[in-house]
């Protein structure tokens, strides 16, 4: 299956989204695209929108964590936004802190969060 990483630039912030579960190959493609784009576009921050996901299982949670870690390694602040309320509830019920990345309800909060983190850094 062919996969194109959606990327939108807003100042020094890159906004991307995950639309559906990714296969292993798509995961690598997504992470490589994102890391490359951070370099090429000189981005200081990344926001990952997951509002399209009606389920986040532990595999996808790990993919999101790993992606955030890779982005941080190349110097970008990261926030995840748009988690659906029932998805968030289910993740909590599963009993473990599955996300080790900042999550916010909407895009606006995510932008504010990464901007604050970038400001602290500068």
């Amino acid at each position: 299956m062919n996969f194109k990483t959606p990327l939108l630039q807003l100042g020094d912030v890159l906004i991307t989204s995950i639309q559906t579960d990714l296969s292993d190959a798509q995961v690598s493609e997504f992470q490589q695209d994102l890391v490359r784009a951070i370099g090429v576009k000189n981005a200081n921050a990344v926001v990952i929108d997951i509002s399209a996901l009606d389920v986040v299982d532990s595999f996808m949670a790990r993919v999101i964590n790993d992606t955030a870690r890779a982005a941080r390694l190349v110097g970008a602040e990261v926030a995840v936004c748009g988690i659906q309320p029932y998805v968030a509830m289910t993740l909590v019920e599963m009993g473990r802190q599955l996300f080790d990345v900042q999550t916010t309800f909407n895009l606006e909060q995510a932008l504010a969060a990464v901007k604050a983190a970038v400001d602290v850094r500068l």
Partner: protein, 138 residues
């Protein structure tokens, strides 16, 4: 009253089947009148189990059925494979245990989400897991 839904069989062979399987489970949950919270719990649990099938056994099968009694609405999902099986079930059900550098959250999480969780597995015996969500029919 006998308007139980017919049971549905689905193969689990590719990553896409993970999404298809959990979507089908959600559809059935909607038809049986379960709310959004239960739908999401079920879809997540099915996703974890189908993912395990692909990851550890390459392929398996899923059966979704209506097991309701006069008092309780019961949606059951059976997921089984003839893969390598699980040597130490107790360990596999523990938070954080993973043989694939995963989070080790799948089985214990699935167990917490479901009203009923039953697992049968052993080395070279494949793995069979039965989960159910319940609702009062009143």
């Amino acid at each position: 009253m006998n308007n139980k839904l017919k049971s549905i069989q689905l193969p689990i062979k590719t990553v896409d089947d993970i999404v298809l399987t959990r979507r089908k489970a959600r559809e059935v949950a909607i038809k049986m009148g379960f709310g959004l919270a239960d739908q999401t719990r079920l879809a997540s649990a099915v996703s974890e189990l189908a993912r395990n099938v692909i990851q550890y056994a390459q392929q398996g099968e899923c059966e979704i059925s209506d097991q309701s009694t006069p008092e309780i609405v019961i949606l059951q999902v059976l997921i089984f494979d003839y893969g390598p099986g699980i040597a130490d079930l107790e360990a596999a059900l523990r938070d954080g245990f993973s043989t694939s550098q995963g989070l080790g959250a799948g089985l214990p999480g699935c167990r917490r989400l479901m009203d009923e969780f039953y697992i049968e597995s052993g080395l070279q015996q494949g793995t069979k897991i039965r989960i159910q969500i319940h609702a009062s029919s009143l």
